[in-house]
């Protein structure tokens, strides 16, 4: 396999709160290879968004800070770069798509003005060239009448349109990596599917790698090559996508998958839920963080934290992983 584009090692991100220091991300490691789409799944508060932000050096500071680890992009450690060095990477090498299309664009400038701002900064285009490029990009992300839309303000566009504009902006400088933080969550269901489809197609067209941060396993199944399941600031399972869906090994992943409603299943049985609550990040158990909610808990789980270990094609952090027969 080729060298990874992005390589995160033992990343620790801490937030200072009034109650004390919280570790939102606790020693995670993963690689992203060129042209692949990696999913980062987990429920709210598990640290997936912060992980995405940290890659661009956008963790709000204070209260947050990267307390340890490395984020290597093309062999260069991004942790500890100063603002001006990070600025040279943001938008050009690594672009980001945000969760809230309604508020992610500047309300007082036109869509075109915001797009050309990025294009002119990185590509050195003239005003006219940048405008033409912006219109072309809008067309490529599937915005009808792009030559008219380019002069409109964000509030004149629907949520799906705005998210397409952000996607167009993210693509505008041919980044090598896109971090998409819940890109479809705020959209309505029909738009979700369209935007996601478009994103996957463009990712292939532009030959970029993508980190797709989401809580939606459906999105992961549709768009990703590999997925990482996060729980309480740690990665509990890393697996190729078919493997994860066919043979989830961590009890948490298995629980998540079981709670997806099946379409064909017409018996209207109750959906299984994972019992219990996510532990408070300020009062984490000494052992496995999922132990309290786990049906496969061993005595060892309460005293020792499992690390990621290979299991078949996956890697899983569990002492008693689920075995699914082939």
């Amino acid at each position: 396999m080729s060298a990874p584009l992005l390589s995160v090692r033992d990343l620790v991100i801490e937030f200072t709160t009034e109650q004390g220091v919280v570790r939102a991300v606790d020693g995670i490691s993963f690689d992203v290879f060129p042209n692949e789409t990696v999913g980062l799944v987990g429920e709210s508060g598990c640290g997936k968004t912060v992980t995405g932000l940290s890659i661009l050096g956008l963790v709000p500071r204070p209260p947050g800070r990267i307390a340890g680890g490395r984020i290597e992009f093309e062999g260069r450690d991004l942790v500890g770069l100063d603002e001006s060095e990070l600025r040279a990477i943001r938008g050009r090498d690594i672009a980001m798509i945000f969760q809230e299309p309604m508020t992610a664009l500047n309300p007082v400038f036109t869509v075109g003005s915001q797009m050309t701002d990025v294009l002119r900064r990185y590509k050195g285009l003239s005003r006219r060239q940048a405008r033409a490029a912006a219109i072309e990009l809008l067309a490529r992300v599937g915005i009808p009448a792009p030559d008219r839309r380019v002069d409109e303000y964000p509030h004149q566009l629907s949520g799906g349109m705005r998210q397409r504009v952000v996607i167009a902006m993210a693509l505008s400088c041919d980044p090598k990596l896109i971090v998409a933080d819940e890109p479809t969550t705020a959209l309505d269901v029909t738009t979700q599917a369209q935007v996601l489809e478009q994103l996957v197609r463009l990712q292939e067209e532009f030959r970029m790698a993508m980190i797709l941060v989401t809580h939606d396993l459906g999105v992961i199944a549709e768009a990703c090559d590999r997925a990482m399941v996060m729980y309480c600031g740690r990665i509990v399972e890393q697996a190729p996508i078919e493997e994860l869906f066919a043979r989830p090994r961590h009890p948490y992943s298995a629980g998540l998958l079981a709670s997806i409603p099946a379409r064909v299943d017409d018996e209207r049985r109750e959906l299984p839920v994972i019992p219990g609550m996510v532990p408070d990040l300020l009062h984490l158990p000494p052992g496995c963080r999922f132990a309290d909610r786990c049906g496969r808990r061993l005595a060892r789980c309460d005293v020792e934290q499992p690390g990621l270990a290979p299991a078949g094609e996956s890697r899983v952090a569990c002492f008693n992983p689920v075995e699914t027969p082939r």
């Binding site: 600025r87 943001r90 945000f98 500047n106 701002d117 900064r121």
Partner: protein, 317 residues
């Protein structure tokens, strides 16, 4: 067209405000203000003389008639002549208003521009030392009384024990040189006093805007800091800034310069108003009070139209 209709509607809506303000202040003027009769008559007047003067001043008319007369004067902008000097009120205002404007304008503009720059700087370095230094100085500036600032500046800049570069009192604007000569110290005092309040206000507005999602988006696309602060932060918080600036114009244009004018002996509208209050010179007071109310209505209209210019989401409906 839309703009014109909107302006007319706003102006009509301003009429009750003008009526309210003038009614209350005229009531106070008539029933509680100083009476000029005896000032004009001197010692031992006869009842006939008193009646004559009261008739001249219009004091013998019923309140409603006098108030109606006031409104007529306001509508025609003809307030008659000052009771104490006999000078037509329009001439008095025409003489003093430009002086006041020339006196306050540089301090007002500088006080706001500097405050916005300092606020941007403080907000950009939020909770680091430049922010703490600027905000600390702002509190110091706010805590010192205007009177003390004026006196201190006069000692520093205008006295033999200080720099002795500028005059303590007086006014002249026949040349730029003369104008600068007289306006510098008052301007410094005005800037010193307004800077603290303005900076604190603008900083809080700017810091609030900096937490918005679109600012994070701009950062994620590598926007350099100066551009970020101007295009993504300042351009988006112009509404509260514009509101504050425009609404302070009527205040400083009429009454805000009163203290400065009296301390620096400058014949502006503040001084004229002060004198009129002291002797109960009703035509002058009526003009100043009425015009202030009108200015507020105009400022409100102006602010609404400016909103449209600074934020495309605002529509004039």
């Amino acid at each position: 067209m839309e703009m014109l209709q909107y302006s007319l509607r706003k102006l009509l809506a301003g009429i009750p405000l003008i009526l309210g303000v003038t009614l209350v202040s005229f009531l106070l003027m008539v029933y509680f203000g100083p009476d000029q009769t005896y000032t004009l008559l001197g010692k031992n007047p006869t009842p006939e003389q008193i009646a004559e003067v009261r008739a001249q001043l219009g004091y013998d008319q019923p309140f409603v008639t006098r108030y109606a007369g006031y409104l007529r004067e306001l509508a025609t902008l003809d307030f008659g002549s000052s009771h104490s000097t006999g000078e037509p009120v329009s001439a008095l205002l025409g003489r003093t208003a430009p002086v006041s404007l020339a006196l306050v304008a540089p301090g007002f503009v500088l006080g706001n521009v500097l405050a916005i720059l300092l606020a941007l700087l403080a907000a950009h370095h939020r909770s680091r030392w430049p922010d703490k230094a600027i905000m600390g100085l702002a509190v110091v500036g706010m805590s010192i009384s205007f009177l003390i600032v004026i006196v201190a500046f006069q000692i520093v800049f205008s006295s033999a024990s200080g720099l002795n570069m500028f005059p303590v009192r007086g006014w002249g604007a026949s040349s730029l040189r003369e104008y600068l000569h007289f306006v510098t110290v008052p301007t410094l005092a005005i800037v010193f006093v307004s800077l603290g309040y303005n900076t604190r206000f603008y900083r809080s507005v700017i810091v609030e805007e900096m937490t918005r999602d679109h600012v994070r988006t701009a950062r994620a696309f590598g926007t350099p800091p100066a551009r970020l602060m101007l295009r993504n932060v300042l351009a988006n918080c112009l509404i509260p800034i514009v509101t504050r600036i425009v609404f302070s114009i009527p205040l400083i244009a009429i009454s805000g310069s009163l203290i400065v004018e009296s301390y620096f002996g400058i014949p502006g509208i503040g001084k004229a108003t002060y004198d009129a209050i002291m002797v109960g010179d009703q035509p002058v007071l009526k003009a100043v009070v009425g015009l202030t109310a009108v200015l507020f209505v105009l400022a409100q209209l102006f602010v609404d139209i400016l909103y449209r210019a600074v934020d495309p989401r605002v529509s004039l409906q």
